[in-house]
């Protein structure tokens, strides 16, 4: 097995491949990451000119799931290239299964991922202290900075791709099992759970970043934007905030691919992915359903019927 | 009452409803409080916020001239939730009103000039407040001739039929030119779009002010025709319609560049509009 590539080697390969894709007209746009305005950020970029591929980068601060941007770059008869990690690639499966894009409209460049750093864990990043990731290093220098979700990563290697830019990465066997975080929550008493979520939902700003970032949330008219009926108003209170989050979790149930974007984008750090992951656990127990998006041939559990589905009526 | 000041509506009763067209109704309303009715001093071109309690508010221009005391008239086209709810109300029902908001037609600066009104569809409603203001006995002498060019999609869609057919044509030095986009058996008058009718009639720009309101596409072509006919940007006035909520320049919704339609408008000259970003 060859040496794992360093982030800067992957970046070089990425640029080369994207330049080729654009120059040959194979794709009209490349959706990828570029360096952000701070050392611990990257930004989504949409490159149409082969010369601009120099802006593309790959490093452990590429946490965003770019798959939803495919919806802005659909062209009949055309192809957009997109750079995805494992969790992101499940988002592409989501869009494909929801008929939001066609397989031949997207050219998937997969990058097996060993984890992404959560910039919020780096207090007041000052150059020289916990500095920007060393692009030459292949190893994860700061495992303590990883997102919580990375410890439970089921698909470090993208599940769908046209090209992999590095060798496949095997999932790290979680010491406590896939749903350890959820079991811990389940073991709380009803009052403890209520207090736990009340504390979080009280902070919710109702900014809708979670919904907007979610690749499963693609309704043309979102239920929360409807006037008639007015399911939630713009009032911010515990009741409405709770209603919003629980309803949204159920609306994406069976389709949420657990990419963790909702969690990452939340400005007040509500651990939203726990809601979705709980539902994924339930679906696993009820329907033996894998995490949605893992396999494009497995339909969403709640959108499919199987005669062996649990049936408590008889 | 509590502390809401400018955002507090006041109860008013619908005293009369007139069906102008299939989807436009004119509501005559009177404030419950006679002193408020007496002191409500709107100027032609201003708007008010109408409340249907339980649903919210909508910004509707005041179509009655302030020379008509004791009532306010609003013409409402049924296009959305609130206007649909308004249309379901009956005489005797109560709504809330707060206002008047916005600037007004510069009627003082129009003294001594000939006035050309160009309206389309429901766009005649805000113009009507100024037409009736000018035609009012106490004001008529101060203004020159009044020409009203008005059109709608069809004869059925003409608003204020009584005004355009009876009242205004018989007013002193006033001519009404009505047209419809699409004629039918009930219609004996001119058939054609408002901008082309305007070009046909060809009112000269000398000492004249042109005021227009109607669907955006109509306004666009009307402005082209007016400019072609030699009207300067200062001679052309329009009134804009944008989504408004507070009406008092605080909620941030109705801005066009640095201007708020609710404070700096809705009446703008073309000269002013050209200084503003094309975002309306």
């Amino acid at each position: 097995m060859s040496e794992k590539k360093t982030p800067s080697q992957i970046t070089a390969k990425l640029r080369e491949e994207c330049r080729r894709l654009l120059e040959t007209g194979t794709v009209h746009t490349v959706i990828g990451f570029a360096r952000g305005s701070l050392p611990d950020r990257t930004v989504p970029v949409f490159i149409t000119n082969p010369k601009d591929v120099e802006h593309l980068t790959w490093n452990p601060f590429c946490a965003a799931n770019l798959s939803k941007y495919l919806l802005d770059h659909r062209r009949p008869g055309g192809k957009a290239a997109i750079i995805v990690k494992g969790c992101d690639s499940r988002g592409i499966v989501r869009l494909l299964q929801d008929n939001q894009i066609l397989r031949d409209q997207v050219h998937i460049l997969g990058i097996p991922c060993r984890g992404q750093y959560d910039h919020r864990k780096i207090p007041g990043l000052v150059a020289g202290e916990t500095g920007p990731p060393d692009p030459e290093s292949a190893a994860l220098v700061h495992p303590e900075l990883l997102f919580e979700k990375c410890a439970y990563c089921e698909n470090p290697t993208p599940v769908i791709y046209d090209l992999l830019l590095d060798d496949a990465v095997e999932p790290i066997a979680g010491s406590n099992g896939r749903f350890a975080e959820i079991t811990a929550l389940e073991e709380k008493t009803a009052l403890e759970k209520s207090a736990y979520w009340d504390d979080h939902f009280n902070r919710c700003l109702r900014c809708y970043a979670c919904r907007n970032a979610c690749p499963a949330c693609t309704c043309r008219e979102c239920v929360f934007d409807q006037f008639d009926p007015d399911w939630v108003s713009k009032r911010n209170n515990l009741s409405e905030n709770t209603a919003f989050h629980l309803i949204r979790a159920f609306h994406v149930a069976g389709r949420c691919v657990d990419c963790g974007e909702c969690d990452r984008v939340c400005p007040v750090q509500i651990p939203l992915r726990l809601l979705n992951r709980k539902i994924i656990k339930d679906l696993d127990e009820l329907f033996e359903a894998p995490t949605p998006g893992t396999d494009i041939n497995v339909k969403p559990a709640l959108g499919d019927f199987n005669s062996r589905d649990p049936d408590k009526f008889h | 009452m509590g502390n809401n000041g400018p955002l507090l509506p006041h109860p008013a009763m619908i005293t009369k409803i007139v069906d102008e067209t299939g989807d436009v109704r004119t509501f005559q309303v009177v404030f419950d409080d006679p002193a408020r009715m007496e002191n409500f001093s709107n100027k032609p071109g201003q708007v008010a916020q109408l409340s249907v309690f339980g649903l919210g508010e909508a910004t509707i221009s005041i179509t009655s001239s302030p020379t008509r005391r004791g009532l306010l008239e609003f013409s409402v086209k049924k296009v959305g939730r609130l206007t649909t709810a308004l249309h379901q109300l009956e005489e005797g029902c109560r709504i809330g009103i707060r206002g008047p908001y916005g600037n007004h037609f510069p009627y003082d600066q129009m003294v001594g000039r000939d006035i050309l009104f160009i309206g389309g569809g429901i766009g005649l409603a805000p113009l009507r407040s100024l037409i009736d203001f000018i035609l009012a006995e106490e004001n008529r002498q101060r203004y020159g001739t009044v020409d009203i060019i008005y059109g709608a999609r069809s004869a059925d869609d003409l608003c204020f039929k009584n005004d355009i057919m009876e009242r205004w044509p018989t007013a002193p030095r006033t001519v009404v030119h009505t047209t419809v986009d699409r004629g039918d058996r009930s219609w004996n008058g001119h058939v054609g779009f408002v901008p082309s009718y305007l070009e046909e009639i060809n009112p000269e720009p000398e000492n004249r002010i042109a005021i227009t309101c109607g669907p955006p596409i109509m306004i666009k072509f009307v402005l082209q025709v007016l400019e072609k006919m030699g009207y300067t940007d200062q001679q052309i006035i329009t009134t804009l319609e944008l989504k408004m909520k507070c009406g008092i320049g605080k909620c941030g919704r109705c801005n066009i560049g640095s201007s708020f339609v609710c404070l700096d408008g809705p009446v703008f000259t073309l000269a002013q509009l050209k200084q503003m970003p094309p975002e309306f």
């Binding site: 907007n212 108003s233 400005p267 | 959305g80 909620c251």
Partner: protein, 347 residues
């Protein structure tokens, strides 16, 4: 002339303030700092640079009841405006950028139609500013000539120095309040404050990471509206409300009624965001800002030009919250730099 408060007397000052006011102070919770109501023993976050939410929420709450309506006999409606809250609020720990934010909001809620709910809170609030010791990687108040040590706009200004706090009343209200704490405060007989302040100033000035220069921005934007640049940066915007809700100068709101199916109900005023697609959408379908490009352009032009045009006060105070929280790193400092480059290209 600033007085001295020994560091171990801070809690006593807070406790004293909490007796005269409903006091909120910066407290660490869930990894971030928020203004929380004072309780005995509640400790201030000594390390925070700024709170997650600006103090605008205390003058202009996210959710505010405006009035209630009740249907009565004979189709009459009784409309009752909401009563102002009786309590007086004190905000301890307002940074200079946030105080500048309040100064930017004052003319919005004043003007020709003064807003009684805002002005009641504004008149009653006691603003205790806290000078900053260092900048975060996202701070850039300096770009708008805001001095992080100045606490301009506060009733009482507090600056943490090496060995003590300097405490200075800036308004009559501030003087009146400080008079209650004369036993806690000492006079600065040896010019400690003066000396320490210059040290504090040097510390903070060197801690800024790179300050954009907005000097020529308004002039350029006065002339240029249709820039392809806006399309570029808008393409990544999620259209959420994060930047607007955490911004100290944003003031957009919606007005709507809530009845829960009955004829009687309440009317509310709640924060809204110009970044939401439907913000300017009209019944009938027309929307003057139909795509992210128009909305992103409108937001930045509002912060860098429109607010300045209307009120002669800048719309951005450089607090850096939007930079910190934007999920796609849409950085207003970058926008200023990019526009400066475009302007350079223009010349």
């Amino acid at each position: 002339m600033p007085a001295i408060l020994k560091k171990d007397k801070l809690q006593a000052l807070l406790s004293g303030l909490s007796r005269a006011y409903k006091l909120v102070l910066p407290v660490r919770e869930n990894g971030m700092t928020y203004f929380k109501p004072y309780q005995t023993g509640l400790a201030i976050d000594r390390d925070y640079i700024n709170t997650a939410m600006s103090p605008k929420e205390f003058l202009f709450p996210q959710t505010e009841k405006m009035l209630s309506f009740k249907y009565r006999e004979g189709a009459e409606i009784l409309i009752t405006g909401a009563e102002p809250q009786p309590e007086k609020l004190a905000v301890f720990g307002a940074r200079s950028c946030d105080l500048a934010g309040i100064a930017a909001l004052d003319p919005v809620f004043g003007g020709r139609f003064p807003d009684p709910q805002y002005s009641t809170r504004r008149d009653r609030v006691l603003l205790v500013g806290l000078g900053c010791r260092r900048a975060s990687s996202t701070c850039f108040c300096r770009a708008f000539n805001i001095d992080p040590l100045s606490c301009n706009g506060a009733d009482i200004a507090v600056v943490e120095l090496e060995d003590c706090f300097s405490v200075e009343a800036r308004t009559d209200k501030g003087h009146a309040q400080l008079a209650n704490f004369s036993q806690l405060l000492g006079e600065d007989n040896s010019g400690t404050v003066e000396t320490s302040l210059s040290g504090a100033r040097e510390a903070i000035d060197t801690s800024f990471d790179g300050i954009p220069d907005p000097a020529g921005i308004k002039d350029f934007l006065d002339r240029q509206f249709e820039l392809p640049y806006w399309e570029n940066i808008a393409s990544r915007c999620l259209g959420c409300g994060i930047c607007t809700y955490i911004c100290p100068t944003c003031h957009c709101f919606d007005i709507f009624d809530v009845t829960r199916g009955k004829p009687d109900g309440n009317r509310y005023r709640c924060w809204d965001s110009c970044m939401f697609p439907d913000f300017t959408g009209m019944a009938g379908g027309h929307n003057p800002r139909p795509t992210p490009k128009e909305r992103v352009r409108n937001r930045f032009m509002h912060k860098l030009k429109y607010h300045l045009d209307r009120y002669e006060i800048g719309g951005c105070v450089g607090c850096g919250r939007c930079v910190e929280k934007c999920p796609v790193n849409l950085d207003i400092r970058q926008v200023i730099n990019d526009i400066n480059k475009l302007q350079g290209g223009e010349n």
